[in-house]
């Protein structure tokens, strides 16, 4: 259990409390996840539930101060009881994704210690996280018997691109469950699933690099837990740091590929995918942002990669893909389209090379950046005049390409040397 992160006075407080119904982690950035906001959000969310519950709030405010305990009126069974504790500030040099993963571990450990029935994790910036989010993530667990409630956000067509291009369709093809955001970061979990993850995530069983962020949805899918999605509305996105895009890719895709490797025995037998129940009403998106996307810069990066990274890609991709990429790099901006099949096979080949450690994993994942930018450029050019419905059907086609090419992945995964087209 990762309770070491919690200061001693707060640990003693958890011991004193003994048990609770809910654990809620408000893990947005330290400035916004202050204890006052967290407690207000929780109080409002619990007021909407049919029964009064005891909840422990863990927030990521980094103050490291002794917990402020909301007074519990003795004998008052009608109002909810809320306790809180805070996480210490992140270690220097800790990446945001790693920080969230560690914070998840602590929340799960607190939940496991208190024997909770449900757990809610809010890792988006808490300015955007409405009180409704906690309710929408917890209520399906408590009232409808779901084990995992994954988030479904209202997005513009150029938002959530890594999710649209890789994470969601890859999760669907591998584990047979179509989720908009398999890596959350906002989740609702049942106590049963939380206990299962705690067992699977014990330091003895998990590798040093394995991220909890990537293993929640796959654990639920592989172990037969009930999964649904909940409409949460608009999520405020962090501005893109283009200079560190390769670090983001390395971190997120590295976690997804590691998870894929750990669960290979399970996903190889799955074919097709199913749509999951989506609860709540989707929010109407605000008008499209008129700022045009800089496709030129992305295509320049793609061409530079195609010109200079052939030696590196040659160790990862089969000759047919390399040939196709070389052909694409000679097209004009308007003609440029990255075919779905090629993109899907690139992702599958990178996942395989990650498993085989063909080259250093960090080099491998970072060398994907120009290809990812090429995909974004192709998608932006194709969808520049499209509405959200057309975008959804386009992503549906991409998901189908992932599923159709799964036999290619399975063959290469089983016989990497023999099956090399």
């Amino acid at each position: 259990m990762e309770l070491d992160a919690i200061p001693q006075p707060e640990l003693e407080q958890i011991e004193r409390i003994g048990g609770a119904d809910l654990v809620i982690g408000i893990l947005g950035d330290a400035r916004s996840a202050d204890e006052g906001t967290a407690l207000t959000l929780t109080r409002e969310a619990l007021a909407e539930l049919s029964k009064p519950l005891r909840a422990m709030v863990v927030c990521n405010n980094g103050t490291h101060s002794p917990a402020a305990v909301a007074p519990e009126v003795p004998g008052d069974k009608q109002s909810p009881a809320i306790f809180s504790c805070s996480l210490p500030p992140p270690a220097p040099g800790e990446t945001p994704q790693h920080g969230i993963s560690n914070a998840y571990r602590t929340v799960f450990a607190v939940g496991g210690k208190l024997g909770v029935r449900a757990c809610c994790l809010i890792a988006s910036r808490s300015q955007t996280a409405a009180p409704g989010w906690i309710h929408r993530l917890i209520q399906p667990v408590l009232d409808l018997g779901f084990d995992l409630v994954a988030p479904c956000y209202t997005r513009q067509k150029m938002e959530g691109l890594l999710n649209r291009s890789v994470l969601a369709p890859l999760h669907g093809a591998l584990y047979g469950q179509r989720l908009q955001n398999p890596m959350g970061p906002d989740f609702g979990l049942s106590g049963k699933l939380l206990q299962r993850i705690l067992v699977q995530d014990s330091p003895r069983r998990r590798g040093a690099e394995r991220s909890l962020l990537a293993s929640i949805a796959s654990a639920a899918a592989c172990d037969g837990f009930q999964v649904c999605e909940s409409q949460l509305g608009v999520r405020q996105q962090s501005p893109t740091d283009w200079d560190n895009l390769s670090s983001l890719l390395a971190e997120i895709l590295g976690a997804a590929f590691l998870e894929m490797e750990g669960r290979a025995a399970h996903w190889q037998s799955i074919r097709g995918s199913q749509t999951l129940p989506r609860l709540g009403q989707p929010e109407v998106p605000s008008p499209e942002n008129p700022t045009p996307v800089d496709v030129k810069g992305m295509l320049q990066s793609f061409r530079l990669g195609a010109q200079n990274l052939q030696d590196v890609w040659g160790l990862i991709l089969p000759p047919t893909s390399l040939l196709e990429l070389r052909r694409l790099s000679r097209l004009t901006d308007d003609q440029f389209r990255l075919p779905d099949q090629l993109w899907v096979r690139i992702i599958y080949d990178f996942a395989l090379a990650h498993r085989l450690q063909t080259i250093s994993r960090d080099h491998l994942l970072r060398s994907l950046t120009p290809l990812y930018l090429g995909w974004i450029a192709s998608y932006a050019l194709e969808m520049q005049a499209a509405g959200l419905t057309e975008v959804d059907s386009r992503i549906g086609l991409l998901s189908k390409a992932y599923e159709d090419n799964k036999s290619y992945l399975v063959s290469r995964w089983r016989w990497p040397d023999r099956f090399n087209p």
Binding site: G160, L162, D243, N289, L304, S367, D417
Partner: protein
Amino acid sequence: MWDQVGQALRLSMTKMLSQLASLLPGIVALLTALVISVAFAWALAAILRRSLKRFDFDRRVAHWGFPAMAEWSPASSPTLLLTRAIAWIIVFMGFLIGISAFDGALPSQFVIRLFAYLPDLMTAIVVFVAGSIVARFLARSVLIGAVNMNLQYARLLSVGVKWLVTVLAVTIALERLGIGGGIIRLAFGILFGGIVLALALAVGLGSKELVSRSLERETSKASGSNVKEPVGHL
């Protein structure tokens, strides 16, 4: 007089034959050592070749970042190169053992000096191999990083770093072997300086693009701070 000439010839013949006879055991020992070492080298090379083929050594060498090794290997196979190199080293060792069997001060001194040189040779080989591995790793890091930063001089930077580390490793190895002395140091200084200058130019020219791009980004941020970034990844 003819008797004396005949006696002198007989004496010299006897002397030469006895000297030849004294050399014979050494020659036989040398030939035996050579035959044994060749047989041992052949057997070891066969075992090693089979093991390396099972290990898929040729492909792995290319994956470890030494694709060029296949080019200067016999039949484009690093496995063959390695096994042949080891076989010839064993034959050479056998030859040295055979030479030392001669009863003479010169061969023994030669062998002793050669064996004393071996640790330096091994150190030089290790330094060279480690230097090559580090050079390739750093070159790949720089290449990928520079491409991701959109630098047009990515390849030049990467090649520069690779040669910088390789030249350093070769110089240390040669210094260890005691070859070249002052000339090597001088050549290293010139080469190293040249590469650093080339890299500085490349970085300078590349940074120009980088700085202008980041300035453009800052300006666009400042002029439209209320405009939301159109692209999000997660």
